[in-house]
């Protein structure tokens, strides 16, 4: 029985893995070990798996759970250098190129300056590839409002990247130092 549940759970989870991990990486960046969050959320999902009626929407459940934990735990925390290092090490071990790693680091850092809902909508839309409708369901909002959030988030992100170009350059140089 236990084996069956585990297998069913893993089968349902397998399709969500990439998106869920990217989401967790984006929201925990520099503030919490992604693995801790993944384990925490998955354990809860596993325990309540029988109660999740729409198994095909497990990803929505996982994202919502991860988001709730982010709100209550580490949103206001500062970056921890060891977590930044850990993130970089893990990606490198997965044979992610240095340029891609820099892009990801820059993106996550800049996203962190966006309002929470805009940041979340942008991550879901641009990184996870969710549709506006799906995001609206997840955020308990309307499709129009999500479109606005995504659009404004993107504008703000662009502006931040322009304004902080100088700081971005400094970040890149510091990251290069780490990677070397």
């Amino acid at each position: 029985m236990v084996d069956t549940k585990e297998k069913v759970f893993l089968l349902a989870y397998e399709h969500c893995h990439d998106a869920f991990l990217r989401y967790c990486s984006a929201i925990t960046y520099g503030k919490m070990d992604t693995e801790d969050l993944v384990q925490d959320v998955l354990l809860t999902a596993y325990q309540n798996f029988e109660n999740i009626q729409k198994k095909d929407q497990l990803l929505h459940y996982l994202i919502r759970a991860a988001k709730n934990r982010s709100i209550s735990h580490w949103r206001k925390k500062k970056y921890k250098q060891e977590l930044l290092d850990q993130h970089a090490d893990r990606l490198i071990s997965k044979e992610v190129s240095a340029d891609t790693l820099l892009d990801i680091q820059l993106l996550y850092r800049t996203l962190d300056h966006l309002p929470e809902k805009q940041k979340d909508a942008l991550i879901l839309f641009e990184i996870l590839g969710f549709s506006m409708k799906e995001i609206a369901v997840l955020q308990n909002s309307s499709e129009g409002a999500i479109k606005t959030k995504v659009s404004r988030g993107r504008q703000l992100l662009k502006k931040l990247l322009e304004e902080k170009d100088y700081r971005g350059q400094r970040l890149i140089s510091s990251l290069k130092t780490i990677l070397v």
Partner: protein, 455 residues
């Protein structure tokens, strides 16, 4: 601009296409440990999970309100009996119990036969005239013993007579003794309430009522007495005699239809040969009123009944400065006149703001003016005779007689000049050397009074 958009999109693409930092295999190994972790799941009925602050508040607040409401409005069983009909139904069982004992409550006729005064009868009967029927008393005792918790700790309150002679005696001629001030003194007299164990040796003691119950009892009794037309004004002094097999309100035995209701309403007061409830809007006293004094419980501001002579100056000087001891006679004459006009339970008072509060000059002016008109109109032959002028909304009555409009105008002008408002128990009482303006009750006066020298 487009280049920047492309730059942003490139960053997103990098994040989207990058391999996740934790692989599926790692997650799989984590999930494989879950069955071990979840072997002992937290029971769903764990109280810790069930407790939510919000739910707790939602439940606690209404429960607190209900509890307080019950405490305030339901702790006295008498509170249910404002409605006479309900009281009758509710007490039917007890009534039958009483009938079984062949000790029916004293009927109106029986009360009349036993010397009690009924409503609208002209004969005045003191409650002392009511004689207790022993059998009925036993029956009443049984019923009340059934209803009351007589084995409670018994509390007795003594209200000692304030040393009125010291407090109010003023031998100076023409000195105002303002009874509004007296009330403030009486407030201090609450120190006279002592709570000790009961040693009265009487049949039963009032249950331990406490201030809250006493206050509620007074309110409840006033409501019902007014509704049943047993008193005329809400500030009337009320004496309820519980000494016999009938309940006597201000000297009148209540009707049979109301008996059971008032029996229940007064059940907490207990019963006894000397048991009475005395109350005004200022106080309530429940207990035994004997010649030795009051034994029982009290709430509010009250003193032993007193006669004016007890606190008035004992003498007044005449024009030549000779001391005259006139007050004893004057007060006796005034009391005799009042007794002719009013029944012994007549009286009441008004609340603080509406007390009559006059300066000596006003009182002197009133004394002079009123006696002049009274002599002119032939109500009194001279100032040697006392006079009582009742001031009610229905007009003025002098020495118990209604006066016509023309006569009334002159008196009313004087009264209005001194801003004395009408009231159900308000009057001006005059003797040769005294004037009292205010509200009168049995042995109680609330208002302004003064001694007046010869002029």
């Amino acid at each position: 601009m487009k280049e920047k958009n492309r730059e942003v999109q490139r960053l997103f693409n990098s994040a989207r296409n990058a391999t996740p930092e934790i692989g599926f295999d790692r997650v799989k190994s984590l999930v494989e440990t879950f069955p071990e972790l979840t072997e002992a799941p937290v029971p769903k009925n764990n109280w810790n999970n069930l407790f939510k602050l919000k739910n707790g508040l939602i439940m606690t607040i209404p429960i607190s309100i209900i509890t307080i409401a019950l405490f305030f409005f339901n702790s006295s069983p008498t509170s249910e009996y404002i409605n006479t009909d309900q009281a009758g139904e509710y007490l039917e069982a007890e009534n039958s119990y009483q009938k079984e004992k062949d000790n029916k409550p004293l009927t109106a006729d029986a009360a009349k036969e036993s010397g009690l005064k009924k409503k609208n009868t002209e004969e005045k009967t003191s409650p002392d005239d009511v004689r207790t029927q022993p059998n009925a008393l036993v029956s009443l005792q049984e019923i009340q013993t059934k209803n009351l918790r007589l084995n409670r700790d018994k509390i007795k309150v003594y209200d000692k007579t304030p040393n009125a002679d010291d407090s109010y005696l003023d031998t100076q001629e023409n000195t105002i003794i303002n009874d509004a001030q007296k009330i403030s003194i009486e407030n201090q007299i609450e120190d006279y309430i002592y709570v000790t164990s009961n040693d009265s040796g009487l049949e039963t003691d009032p249950s331990s009522l406490g201030n809250l119950k006493l206050r509620r009892l007074r309110k409840l009794l006033y409501k019902n007495l007014l509704a049943d037309n047993l008193i005329k004004a809400k500030h009337a002094y009320v004496t309820i005699d519980l000494s016999g097999s009938s309940i006597i309100v201000n000297g009148i035995a209540i009707e049979d239809s109301l008996y059971q209701k008032y029996l229940e309403l007064t059940s907490e007061a207990g019963h006894g040969k000397y048991r009475k409830i005395k109350m005004s809007h200022q106080y309530i006293k429940v207990g035994d009123f004997t010649e030795e004094g009051f034994t029982g419980e009290g709430f509010g501001t009250f003193t032993e009944d007193f006669e004016p002579s007890e606190y008035r100056p004992s003498s007044v000087n005449d024009k030549d400065g000779n001391v005259q001891f006139v007050f004893e006679k004057e007060n006796a004459d005034l009391k005799a006149l009042a007794d002719e006009i009013f029944d012994p339970y007549y009286g009441g008072t008004s609340k603080g703001l509406f007390h009559v509060d006059l300066k000596f000059e006003n009182l002197l002016d009133l004394h002079k003016g009123l006696y002049t008109i009274l002599i002119q109109d032939g109500f009194v032959a001279s100032r040697k005779f006392p006079a009582i002028i009742e001031i009610s909304k229905n007009g003025l009555r002098i020495n118990g007689e209604k006066i016509d409009g023309q006569q009334e105008a002159a008196y009313q002008a004087l009264i209005d000049k001194n801003k004395i408002k009408p009231g159900p128990f308000r009057s001006i009482r005059l003797t040769e050397h005294q004037i009292f303006a205010g509200d009168f009750g049995p042995g109680i006066f609330t208002g302004t009074s003064s001694t007046i020298g010869d002029y």
